[in-house]
């Protein structure tokens, strides 16, 4: 037993060393580079926020009608099999596309378009902190969001 524990301990030390070693293989993203990434993310969230709150189709409905603050999306559960989309495993953007086309009577966006990326970014940002749990299929609310001054893209 003792030897076994010692082996585990040594293996753990080795693993930490390897991890530490790999951590230095690329420089951590800090300072100006991190700020630049964050600013770019927030700009995309703001674009997504705007699209989310603007009717895209012919029936006047916007995503925010049913999903205020990005609620009831659960991006952390995708990819998952979705009954509404024929029971196949779909990605978040498949679901967004379905909602755009079926619910709001819009044409939808190309998957690689800036608009689709922005919507996906808004959906994931408003649910940040949720634990990834692929396939989970229960109703929960959105995480509390930061509101008021400083909230990205606050135009409304």
């Amino acid at each position: 037993m003792k030897n076994t524990m010692k082996s585990v301990a040594l293996a753990s030390v080795a693993a930490v060393a390897l991890t530490a070693g790999s951590a230095f293989a690329a420089k951590p993203i800090v300072g100006a580079e991190a700020a630049e990434q964050f600013d770019a993310l927030m700009a995309t969230v703001a674009t997504g926020d705007s699209i989310w709150h603007t009717p895209q189709g012919s029936n006047g409905l916007a995503c925010a009608n049913c999903h205020p603050d990005g609620s009831a999306i659960q991006p952390e559960t995708f990819p998952k099999a979705h009954r509404t989309l024929g029971g196949r495993v779909v990605a978040l953007r498949d679901m967004i596309q379905w909602c755009l086309q079926a619910v709001t009577a819009a044409d939808g966006f190309d998957y690689a378009s800036d608009e689709m990326i922005a919507m996906e970014t808004y959906a994931t940002y408003t649910n940040r902190g949720a634990v990834i749990d692929l396939g989970k299929d229960v109703q929960t609310g959105a995480v509390p969001v930061i509101s008021g001054p400083g909230y990205p893209g606050t135009t409304h």
Partner: protein
């Protein structure tokens, strides 16, 4: 207490519109004078009755929009209830963007109700023209000043108030009427602030109930809840504490509200509170813990556009014992305990 007669409502409806029907409701009849005159309505004097509730149709200025059909179906649903409800209260948001065309469409559909209607405004009816068109269509001239009313029915004192009054955020920002409405249309409007009934209606409420005896059964209608559910989405009324204080001397108060697009229940002091399903779209439960988590609706199927919605009715017994019944469009929306009826 004189029952509102259909003739009383329709007698002034030369244009056949719901506005005129409601105007008939608010005409200074003997019944309303009795209610405001302070004749106590002890609960032992209640004559049991049922009333129906509809809310949040959010009609769009678009032809053959699916929400039109949902409201029509809800009207047919309450018209078919047995026994037929004595009256119907519409709890706000007939339209989506406050346009005359939306309100006119709603008025036309609601005119098919086979019972008298009382109505209060929602924010979507209001912030394009600050309620001018809504008042013109749905309120009589005598009620244009304070958008609050009371009505006595079968021994119960029913109160309706405008709970969606917000401070002016638009003038300083230089917003147009359409831009103002656009902001308010968003549930998570960051800059709109909290809404409420404000001082004028609080004063009206004090006077309205001043001479009622404590055992008078009270039912209030507001668009938003009279408790702090989730202020970020204005699932609240900022002066609800004052309202509850004014009504605290009564044995029991039922508060029924729209705006939340979902089944929800609460109890604060002497006030029981029930939220209503919409006839447009359901809203998710916000990320807060409910005191009565077993009184909720199930998750709706996104592929069924009619799921998550419906109408409601409340039966009032002789001891002011109420039962809220939710009539969902889809049979499997409601858990068995909710489908059976919620004591309120």
């Amino acid at each position: 207490m004189e029952k509102i007669s259909r003739r009383n409502f329709l007698g002034v409806t030369s244009k056949g519109a719901a506005a005129s029907i409601v105007a008939g409701t608010f005409a200074p009849t003997a019944s309303s004078m009795i209610g405001l005159g302070g004749v106590a309505s002890a609960s032992s004097k209640i004559k049991p009755f049922t009333f129906a509730v509809l809310t949040d149709a959010h009609l769009y200025d678009l032809p053959a929009h699916r929400f039109d059909g949902f409201l029509e179906d809800a009207v047919a649903q309450v018209n078919a209830l047995k026994p037929r409800p004595d009256l119907l209260i519409y709890a706000g948001d007939v339209g989506q963007a406050g346009k005359a065309s939306e309100l006119e469409k709603g008025q036309k559909i609601l005119s098919k109700l086979k019972m008298p209607m009382l109505i209060i405004p929602g924010e979507h009816d209001y912030y394009l023209d600050m309620g001018a068109d809504w008042r013109k269509r749905f309120l009589p001239k005598s009620k244009q000043g304070v958008e609050a009313w009371s009505h006595d029915h079968n021994g119960v004192h029913i109160i309706g108030m405008n709970s969606i009054l917000i401070s002016d955020f638009w003038t300083g920002a230089g917003l147009s009427d359409v831009e103002r409405m656009g902001r308010v249309e968003e549930l998570e409007c960051h800059k709109c602030g909290l809404w409420g009934v404000e001082a004028k209606q609080l004063e009206w409420l004090k006077k309205d109930v001043a001479k009622l005896s404590p055992d008078t059964p009270i039912i209030t209608f507001t668009h938003s809840p009279l408790w702090d559910y989730y202020p970020r989405w204005n699932f609240q009324t900022k002066d609800s504490a004052e309202i509850r204080q004014i009504l605290s001397g009564f044995d029991k108060v039922m508060s029924i509200h729209g705006h939340v697009h979902q089944v929800v229940y609460n109890n604060v002091g002497n006030m029981t509170s029930a939220g209503l399903m919409s006839t447009s779209w359901p809203w998710p439960y916000p990320p807060v813990e409910l005191t009565y988590p077993h009184i909720k609706m199930n998750r709706q199927n996104p592929g069924d556009f009619k799921d998550g919605m419906g109408s409601s009715s409340v039966s009032i017994g002789g001891d002011f014992d109420g039962t809220m019944k939710y009539h969902a469009f889809s049979a499997d929306l409601l858990p068995a305990n909710v489908a059976a009826g919620i004591p309120i």
